[in-house]
């Protein structure tokens, strides 16, 4: 579970995040929408412990990020817009490397299994990442979430730049992870994916969560219309 309790972050005079209250349940996908500078990445950075909140608290599966950032991060997986990997390592070596950093040691055949589960076949997994497409990198990111047994997944513009097929496959994997009880917080501009994948959608404007809608709400109305209405309000 991911919880933000009156989470606030200021950068000098500017309020980047203003008393954000948010709760993403295990198995739920929450899409955080908002224009550039709305505070989406700040929220993710606060959950990752890369930023220290000015007030409020971020919790990951009950662990306060401020109190024990390492323990909190070990319950998390993070997939940025571009999953950055070591280009001279193969996919499986990258997976081994990053999962070891999180304290998870797995046998080579297990790693191949996880990559396969994330949609990356063995032949591709053995290739140097320098030859990978963005979609293939995202699959390594998913495999990493699987390898570390993350309780929560933070996604920052994960489908940006993916072709529709890759985006669809990514979405399928995401739902599978959520199906395994992972709480997913996805910061995105992709309204289509938000509507398709998320159980709930939140709209962040100027650091404030101005609206939340359930999947049912957004299916009944045009999400784009809601979004534009909210950000211009």
């Amino acid at each position: 579970m991911l919880e933000a309790l009156k989470l606030t972050k200021r950068f000098q005079d500017r309020v980047a995040l203003d008393a954000l209250d948010l709760r993403v349940e295990p198995g739920e996908i929450f899409a955080l929408l908002g224009p550039n500078g709305a505070g989406k990445t700040t929220t993710i950075n606060l959950f990752l412990g890369f930023l220290t909140p000015d007030s409020g608290e971020a919790r990951v599966a009950g662990t306060s990020v401020a109190a024990d950032p390492v323990a909190a991060r070990r319950k998390l997986a993070y997939i940025p817009e571009m999953v950055s990997l070591y280009p001279r390592f193969s996919g499986v070596e990258n997976l081994d490397y990053f999962s070891r950093l999180g304290g998870h040691q797995r046998r080579r055949d297990e790693l191949y299994g996880l990559l396969e589960k994330a949609g990356l076949q063995r032949e591709a997994a053995e290739r140097r990442v320098g030859t990978y497409s963005k979609g293939m990198r995202q699959k390594v990111g998913i495999a990493l979430a699987l390898a570390t047994g993350a309780k929560a997944l933070l996604l920052d513009e994960p489908t940006s730049g993916l072709d529709p097929a890759a985006s669809h496959e990514f979405s399928r994997m995401l739902k599978r992870l959520a199906g395994e009880g992972v709480a997913v917080l996805m910061a995105t501009h992709d309204l289509f994916r938000a509507r398709e994948d998320a159980a709930r959608v939140g709209i962040l404007v100027g650091g404030r969560l101005v609206a939340q809608y359930s999947a049912k709400d957004v299916k009944d109305r045009d999400l784009e219309e809601i979004y534009l209405e909210r950000i211009s309000a």
Binding site: F50, R73, M82, Y86, R88, F98, L101
Partner: protein, 457 residues
């Protein structure tokens, strides 16, 4: 352990690493060969001197077996005061190519300044010196180490892998420390291996111990530079910035600080120049020469027991009296010179931790046996030997007492006494402790910078 292996694999995945190692091995080998050649030359020279001394002793013994000898014949023939070859010459040529390791001591040359003495300068003058192993280790080793480890996470910050790594919950301090060790290990291992090899090639009984201590010095010096790399990566936002910072810090610690220290010690304690030494010796000799008769008369008045019958000094006795007077006149100049050099060395010793390059150079030349203190001990023992030669031959010379076979065991002979191991070991270990303390200070500074918040900012 597997993580360490993965870091090594990541390092070696870059072909440039292999090139770096090949060049480093080549410089180490070249340095070792140069040091070994210098050592071989010193050994050959020492053997030639010993052979010559042995032959002279044999001839004197043979003559004395048959007849007595005029002391003037024996005392006038120089005796070689030999500094034995350095215990580990392949490690550092040090001052051995600047300072004489043999001094010809005869009753007629007691006041002649040692050859090359005026060239004696601050032993930590890193600008000087040959391309030996110490040069490679003090100058180039940090460069190679920084080339392998300058980008511990600055490049990851640029590429985004840093965020990926930190997001896994890794402790950045442990991660960077592990990475620094992994990246430094190949270069460190080669440097330590070359140092141990140099130690094993030494001929002295304690060469192995000296080599092991030198390896410890190199290890401490390497850890310092890895800690510097960690500090750089705590600040640098890109690999290019880290490379520039690493280069600048190398220039400061290896070039600027030692040069500045050299300038400072020479300004604080300037040694009289060779020209001054020679001019004063000439002036003293000329003055003493003019007063030759007066000097010898005065000498015989003070030492009537040495006066020949009728107090009639011959030319050689007069020359000896003149030389003694020149010695007395030159004493303050020589003292001033020695005091200045000693004071310079003491300043260097005190300030050697201003740059670990100085401390490392000092420790390596000390361990090689080519440093200041061993040469100083040699010079002091040579001076004492000159005194012994004077004390033994001068009375016999004046009284013209013939030398017999019974005198043979009493002829002054020079044998260099090495400093006790505990003395040089204490100096070296103090150097190692200082370098490790600097490395620790850098490590702590780096640790304060390597937090996820600061790194991901």
């Amino acid at each position: 352990m597997k993580s360490f292996g993965l870091e090594l694999k990541l390092l070696f995945a870059d072909r440039a690493t292999w090139g770096l190692l090949v060049v480093f091995v080549a410089t180490l080998v070249y340095g070792l060969v140069n040091g070994a050649e210098a050592g071989a030359r010193a050994r050959d020279n020492a053997e030639a001197v010993q052979r010559d001394a042995f032959e002279w002793n044999r001839q004197v013994r043979e003559v004395l077996e048959r007849q007595s000898l005029d002391p003037r014949q024996v005392a006038g023939r120089p005796t070689s005061a030999l500094l034995p070859p350095a215990p580990v010459p392949a490690l550092a040529v040090g001052q051995s190519d600047l300072l004489p390791s043999v001094e010809q001591v005869s009753l007629w040359r007691l006041e002649k300044p040692s050859e090359g003495r005026a060239e004696l300068e601050n032993p930590s003058r890193l600008m000087a010196g040959r391309f030996d192993l110490a040069f490679v280790l003090v100058w180039l080793f940090p460069l190679f180490l920084l080339a392998a480890a300058y980008d511990l996470c600055a490049g990851d910050r640029e590429s985004g892998t840093l965020r990926m790594a930190l997001a896994q919950g890794a402790s950045p301090r442990r991660w960077i420390a592990l990475r620094a060790l992994a990246r430094g290990t190949p270069i460190l291992a080669l440097a330590v291996a070359a140092t141990l090899f140099a130690g094993s090639s030494g001929t002295a009984p304690d060469a192995g111990q000296r080599g092991a201590l030198a390896a410890l010095v190199v290890l401490a010096y390497g850890l310092f530079w890895l800690a510097v790399a960690a500090v750089i990566n705590g600040f640098a936002r890109s690999a290019a910035a880290a490379a520039m910072a690493a280069g600048t810090i190398w220039v400061v610690f290896v070039l600027v600080v030692p040069t500045l220290l050299n300038v400072v010690v020479e300004s604080l304690h300037p040694a009289p120049s060779r020209a001054e030494l020679v001019a004063e010796a000439r002036a003293a000799a000329s003055d003493a020469e003019k007063r030759g008769n007066e000097l010898i008369s005065s000498f015989y008045r003070d030492h009537p027991e040495l006066a020949p019958p009728g107090m009639q000094a011959d030319m050689m006795s007069r020359m000896l009296a003149v030389q003694d007077e020149v010695g007395r006149a030159m004493e303050p100049v020589k003292e001033r010179f020695d005091e200045a050099i000693l004071a310079q060395q003491q300043v260097v010793d005190r300030w050697r931790f201003a740059s670990p390059a100085i401390a490392t150079h000092e420790a390596l030349t000390e361990l090689a046996g080519t440093g200041y203190w061993r040469h100083r001990a040699f010079r002091e023992q040579v001076e004492a030997f000159k005194g012994a030669v004077h004390a033994y031959y001068s009375p016999k010379f004046h009284k013209r007492v013939p030398l017999t076979k019974a005198d043979l065991p009493h002829f002054p002979r020079f044998e260099f006494a090495e400093e006790p191991a505990s003395v040089w070991r204490a100096r070296v270990l103090a150097g190692v402790a200082g370098i490790l303390a600097l490395a620790l200070a850098c490590g702590i500074w780096a640790a304060t910078r390597l937090s996820p918040q600061k790194l991901s900012a």
